[in-house]
């Protein structure tokens, strides 16, 4: 263990950073695309089924295949990996945003409109607030997927903790495999925990403090 850190400590830090960086960008892009898109779909229900269906199909493409498909488009390195992971992150967020928004008590939407909120005000001040826990559950799921699959991104030269794992597999070195896998697991747990806190923060309060 100590020997491992002595030999690979510096590399571990670098690869972890690359891992975080790739997953974070992919997830961030996923969030800023999927949430507005999910909201939009609740306003244009006719295309909702089609869009969510399309995202589901993309989700079923094997991760390795999707990554490989990125090479002719974006070459190798972090960029194609980020694009592929971004595509993967879309579905859970999109679906949960759509469901979360759809499940907002229609009387609230009606009341918001009836009192003179514009469409945007109703979304921002009422619907997104009420749907926040469901949307956050989607984000957490996506985050876990993305962190796990970023390990595969090393396959197209994106770097990250996957480098350890692939090297370990090639060289029959279990310590390298574990040295790559364990940080991925820890990372996923930490991110999930942090997003869990964020979810609590975003969950609308319906009771006074201390009650």
């Amino acid at each position: 263990m100590i020997a491992f850190f002595q030999e690979f400590g510096g590399q571990l830090l670098l690869k972890t950073w690359q891992h975080i960086y790739i997953s974070a960008i992919a997830l961030f892009l996923g969030v800023i695309v999927a949430i507005p898109l999910g909201v939009l779909l609740t306003r244009y229900k006719r295309i909702a089924g089609f869009t969510i269906g399309l995202a589901s199909v993309l989700q079923t493409v094997p991760a390795m295949a999707l990554l490989a498909m990125m090479i002719p488009l974006f070459g190798i390195g972090a960029l194609p990996a980020i694009v592929a992971l971004f595509i993967y992150s879309l579905l859970p967020i999109l679906r949960n945003t759509y469901l979360g928004m759809e499940n907002v008590d229609p009387t609230l939407r009606d009341a918001a409109k009836g009192m003179g909120m514009s469409n945007l005000q109703s979304i921002m001040r009422v619907e997104l607030r009420m749907a926040a826990p469901v949307i956050m559950a989607g984000v957490r799921l996506s985050a876990t997927y993305v962190i796990a699959w970023t390990a595969l991104a090393s396959y197209i030269g994106a770097g990250g903790l996957g480098d350890f794992i692939f090297n370990g597999l090639n060289l029959y070195r279990p310590d390298l495999i574990l040295g790559g896998s364990i940080p991925v697991i820890i990372l996923a747990l930490i991110v999930d925990f942090l997003l869990g806190r964020l979810e609590l923060l975003l969950t609308p309060r319906t009771k006074q403090e201390g009650n």
């Binding site: 009836g114 003179g116 909120m117 319906t206």
Partner: protein, 391 residues
């Protein structure tokens, strides 16, 4: 001046006419109740007023201006709206809920806080409730907030869709008092959907009875009780209420019995003969055209008998009477308060048309309490009652 004018409103869903040629002019300060069977188009009509729905055809004008030409968001901020199930925002405090529209209108915070305090007072709830969340209030308290929330931006028109459904009678009554007070004291105009005829009768200045998208009858509560347009309205009012309502809506003319009278120009001898024949001790006196002039009792006749005077000379002109189209309810009170045994009934030209006796009142009360419906009309009954009753 007409505040709200709805002309030839139609709303068609697929093949069905949810609202069928709705026409109405509403004055400022009116309290309009929509009542009717489920699916009769009450909600649909109401929601066209604040453009939550768009009519298939027809126009709605507020103060003479076509609302189709207004910005719907701005329009809705000017019209208070209490949806069914209250619709308080669960993630906002009571304060935030109350001043939701003022905030949309960008009132400064200080003014909003003041308004919130004013409104919570109006809802008769303690001020520290302002910091609570809706889930921390009882159902009735939430409905109170729902009502005052619709008023917080000084809206002149308030739409309420079954706002007090599923509440216990006591809470319901106190909320009814609240809205009625707002209408009477602040001159707000209410359009109020209810399923409860008692509620409509208590609150409304005019009731709109709807069935299958059509207005069956639009009238004051009194007129609807007095002259239900058809059997549908009668069934909606309910047999119980019609019977209960009878003493209050029946006119004096309907229950009056035939009066025993004499003319001014008759002699005392003739009068005494009439008294003897009809076995009464008092005669109502009319002129030759039948206009009521006074009354004469057996005492006066006794006093002046043989002096050659006519009835007109000795009658008491100080007579209390009621008009035939006044409501029996008021008459009952007057008769009882003044201790009269009977009261003459006159028409608009002061012609004597009959008399209401205590015996008649007994019949009325009996009917109201026992609900007998197959009795013959009172006016047709023989005048057996009056003989011993003349004062």
């Amino acid at each position: 001046m007409t505040l709200l004018k709805m002309s030839h409103l139609n709303k068609i869903y697929g093949g069905t006419k949810a609202v069928d040629d709705f026409n109405m002019e509403i004055e400022k300060g009116e309290f309009i109740c929509f009542i009717g069977t489920s699916g009769s188009g009450k909600t649909t009509t109401m929601r066209m007023i604040n453009r939550m729905l768009h009519q298939t055809s027809g126009t709605i004008e507020i103060n003479g201006e076509d609302i189709a030409k207004m910005d719907p968001v701005k329009l809705r901020r000017k019209i208070g709206y209490v949806i069914q199930n209250v619709g308080l925002m669960p993630h906002m405090t009571i304060r935030e809920n109350i001043v939701l529209v003022p905030k949309l209108l960008k009132w400064p915070e200080e003014k909003r806080n003041e308004k919130a305090k004013e409104m919570i007072k109006m809802a008769e709830l303690p001020e520290d409730y302002l910091d609570r969340y809706p889930a921390e209030l009882s159902g009735g308290q939430q409905q109170r907030i729902g009502v005052v929330r619709a008023l917080a931006a000084d809206q002149d028109i308030i739409l309420m869709d079954e706002p007090f459904g599923a509440l216990d009678p006591i809470t319901r009554e106190s909320l009814q008092d609240l809205v009625k007070d707002l209408q009477e004291r602040l001159g707000k105009t209410f359009i109020f959907v209810t399923h409860d005829m008692d509620e409509a009768l208590t609150l409304a200045t005019r009731i709109v009875i709807m069935s299958h998208g059509k207005q069956v009858q639009v009238d004051t509560p009194d007129n609807i009780l007095r002259h239900p347009a058809n059997e549908f309205v009668e069934s909606l009012i309910g047999q119980d209420r019609l019977i209960q309502a009878r003493p209050s809506i029946t006119t004096v003319g309907q229950v009056a019995t035939k009066a025993v009278s004499a003319r001014e120009s008759q002699t005392l001898k003739e009068a005494l003969g009439e008294m003897h024949n009809k076995r009464v001790d008092t005669l109502l006196v009319t002129d030759d055209d039948g206009v009521l002039r006074g009354f004469v009792g057996i005492e006066q006749i006794n006093q002046y008998y043989g002096t050659g005077k006519e009835i007109g000379d000795i009658m008491d002109k100080n007579i209390f009477y009621v008009k035939e189209d006044s409501v029996i309810r008021d008459t009952v009170e007057r008769i009882l308060k003044r201790g009269f045994k009977n009261v003459p009934v006159i028409d608009h030209d002061h012609h004597l048309v009959g008399i209401v006796t205590r015996a008649t009142l007994v019949d009325m009360v009996y009917d109201a309490l026992w609900g007998e419906s197959d009795k013959p009309e009172k006016a047709d009954q023989p005048d057996k009652a009056e003989a011993g009753d003349q004062a």
